[in-house]
C-alpha cells in the first residue's frame, strides 16, 4: 500500500540551518548536510531544504550546500527558495536536487511551472503555496501570500493549486500561515480543501507539534505527506518514532526504515 510520507525540512540561511535549532550559533556551515543525512537515517521519507538567503551572492553558497547535502542522501531531496527561472532550477538540479520548489516566482510567472516541468519532468516541480484563511469566509477563499508570507495576493489557495496542477506541477506544498510555528496542529480543513481539489499529491506544512497532529492531517486533512522542521530538530521525536506512533494509529507508513 502507498504510504504517507514524513518530510523533514531544513531552513537554511547562508549555508547554516537557522530555524528550529536551539543554539543557532553553534551550527557550523556543514550542518545542513549532516542534519539531512541524520534525518534520512532516522527514517525521514524525504528531505526539503528551503533557502531563505535573498542575496545574489547567497546563490553560490546555496548550490554548494545543495551539492554537499545531496552527496550522501539516498531519499528524495527537494530544494526551494529564490528559484526565479528555469536556469536557476537547472543549477539546483545539477547540484543534486531531485525536485525544486517554487512559490513567488510561480505566481509572478505561472509559465515557469510548465517550463521547468518540460525540461525536468512534472515530478520535479513542487509548487509551494503559503495561505491564510480569510475571516468569516469559506475555506476555499483562503488567500495566497508571497515573499515569505509578507505580501498578500489576489489569489485563492484552492483555485491557485488547481491552476498549478493544470500547468504541470507535480506536487503542492501547502503551508498554513495561521498554523505555522504554533505547534498546535495542521490546518486540516484547508489541507483537505486543497487536496480534494487536485489529483497531485499535497504536502501539508505548518503547525506540527505531536504525532496526533500528523494522524489528523493524514485522515481528516487528506494530506499525502506532511512536513515538519522543529519537531525533529528539537529532538522531540525522530521520524522513526513518529512513524511508529502513526502505524499504531492505523496510518500506513514506511517501516522499518
Amino acid at each position: 500500500m502507498i504510504t504517507k510520507r514524513i518530510i523533514a525540512c531544513l531552513d537554511v540561511h547562508a549555508g547554516r540551518v537557522v530555524k528550529g535549532i536551539q543554539f543557532v550559533d553553534l551550527i557550523d556551515a556543514g550542518a545542513p548536510a549532516l542534519l539531512a543525512e541524520r534525518h534520512a537515517l532516522e527514517g525521514a521519507d524525504e528531505i526539503v531544504l528551503l533557502d531563505i538567503t535573498a542575496t545574489h551572492e547567497g546563490r553560490q553558497t546555496l548550490l554548494d550546500t545543495v551539492r554537499r547535502t545531496a552527496l550522501r542522501l539516498f531519499v528524495p531531496f527537494t530544494v526551494g527558495g529564490g528559484i526565479r527561472s528555469a536556469d536557476d532550477a537547472a543549477q539546483v538540479f545539477d547540484a543534486g536536487a531531485d525536485k525544486i520548489s517554487i512559490n513567488s516566482a510561480a505566481l509572478a510567472d505561472p509559465n515557469l511551472i510548465t517550463a521547468i516541468g518540460n525540461s525536468f519532468g512534472a515530478q520535479a516541480v513542487v509548487v509551494a503555496i503559503d495561505a491564510r484563511r480569510e475571516p468569516n469566509a469559506p475555506i476555499n477563499q483562503a488567500r495566497v501570500f508571497v515573499q515569505g508570507g509578507r505580501k498578500p495576493t489576489e489569489r485563492r489557495a484552492v483555485e491557485w493549486a488547481r491552476e498549478a496542477e493544470s500547468r504541470g506541477a507535480g506536487e503542492i506544498l501547502l503551508t498554513s500561515m495561521d498554523s505555522d510555528g504554533t505547534r498546535t496542529g495542521f490546518d486540516c480543513e484547508l489541507t483537505a480543501a486543497v487536496s480534494s481539489a487536485v489529483r497531485i499529491p499535497v504536502i501539508a506544512s505548518g503547525g506540527a507539534g505531536t504525532p496526533a497532529h500528523f494522524v489528523d492531517v493524514f485522515t481528516r486533512g487528506r494530506a499525502d505527506a506532511a512536513l515538519a522542521a522543529s519537531i525533529f530538530h528539537f529532538g522531540v521525536s525522530s521520524a522513526r518514532s513518529l512513524k511508529q506512533e502513526l502505524a499504531r494509529a492505523g496510518v500506513s507508513v514506511r517501516l522499518p526504515c
Binding site: 500500500m1 502507498i2 504510504t3 504517507k4 510520507r5 534520512a40 521519507d45 545531496a70 552527496l71 550522501r72 539516498f74 531519499v75 528524495p76 531531496f77 538540479f93 545539477d94 547540484a95 543534486g96 531531485d98 525540461s119 525536468f120 519532468g121 512534472a122 515530478q123 520535479a124 507535480g170 506536487e171 489529483r199 497531485i200 499529491p201 499525502d224 505527506a225 514506511r254 526504515c257
Partner: protein, 203 residues
C-alpha cells in the same frame, strides 16, 4: 566496475550518477552509439515523457542498445527507461519502444486515487529474481509515475496501486525498475549493487 549511462535529455542524471559512484562504479555519460557499443554495463535512466525516447532512435542509440543486449551486456532501465523496454506506451502511441518485452505500458485507470503514483510503496518480489537477491519481500521503494507496465511472466516485483503493476522486470541480462532505486534508501542501494555485481555468465 565501469557503467555507461545513456543521456537522452530526459531529466536529471545527477542523482543516478551520484549513487552509482557512491557504490564504487566508474560512470561514463554519453549519447554516442559508438561509446554504447564499447560499454561493459548500461544504465538508461529517464523521467518525464515517453516521447523523449525518440532521441534514442534519432541518435542510433536504440540499435546500439539492441546489439549490446543481444551480446549479453547487463542493462538496467529506470522509470521511463524501464517502460522503453516494452513495445510502447499509450503516453506516446506513435513512439515505439525497444520491444524486448512484447507488452504495452499504459496509464493508471482513472479512479478516485491520485495519479501520479508518488511516494514509498511496497514490492512483492519474485523468488527467482537476481536484481532483488537479499532484498526482503515487502520492502519499500520510491515511485513517481503515471504510466506502468503490466504484470507478466517476466515481472520481477509487483506493486499494488489501484491495481497490481510491474515494479520491476527481468529477463536474462535485461532489468527494469519502475521505481527510483537511487532514491530508495538502503533497499535501493542493495538493488543497484546487485545490478553492478550481475555477471552474464552466471545465467
Amino acid at each position: 566496475m565501469r557503467v555507461t549511462v545513456i543521456d537522452y535529455k530526459a531529466g536529471n542524471l545527477t542523482s543516478v550518477l551520484k549513487t552509482l559512484t557512491h557504490l564504487g562504479a566508474e560512470c561514463e555519460v554519453t549519447d554516442d552509439p559508438v561509446r554504447v557499443q564499447k560499454a561493459e554495463r548500461l544504465v538508461l535512466p529517464g523521467v518525464g515523457h515517453f516521447a523523449a525516447t525518440k532521441l534514442l532512435d534519432d541518435r542510433g542509440l536504440t540499435r546500439a542498445v539492441r546489439e549490446k543486449i543481444a551480446d549479453g551486456t547487463p542493462f538496467l532501465g529506470i522509470c521511463v527507461g524501464m517502460q522503453w523496454l516494452y513495445a510502447g506506451s499509450t503516453e506516446a502511441p506513435d513512439q515505439p519502444g525497444l520491444a524486448y518485452f512484447a507488452e504495452q505500458c499504459a496509464r493508471f485507470p482513472n479512479v478516485s486515487e491520485k495519479v501520479p503514483h508518488v511516494g514509498w510503496n511496497s514490492i512483492r518480489i519474485s523468488p527467482n529474481s537476481k536484481l532483488f537477491a537479499g532484498v526482503a519481500d515487502n520492502s519499500f521503494v520510491y515511485f513517481t509515475h503515471s504510466y506502468k507496465a503490466p504484470v507478466t511472466a517476466d515481472t520481477a516485483a509487483t506493486t499494488d496501486y489501484i491495481e497490481p503493476f510491474a515494479a520491476s522486470v527481468e529477463r536474462n541480462n535485461v532489468f527494469g525498475v519502475q521505481f527510483h532505486p537511487e532514491k530508495s534508501s538502503d533497499v535501493g542501494l542493495k538493488i543497484l549493487s546487485n545490478f553492478l555485481a550481475f555477471n552474464t555468465e552466471a545465467i
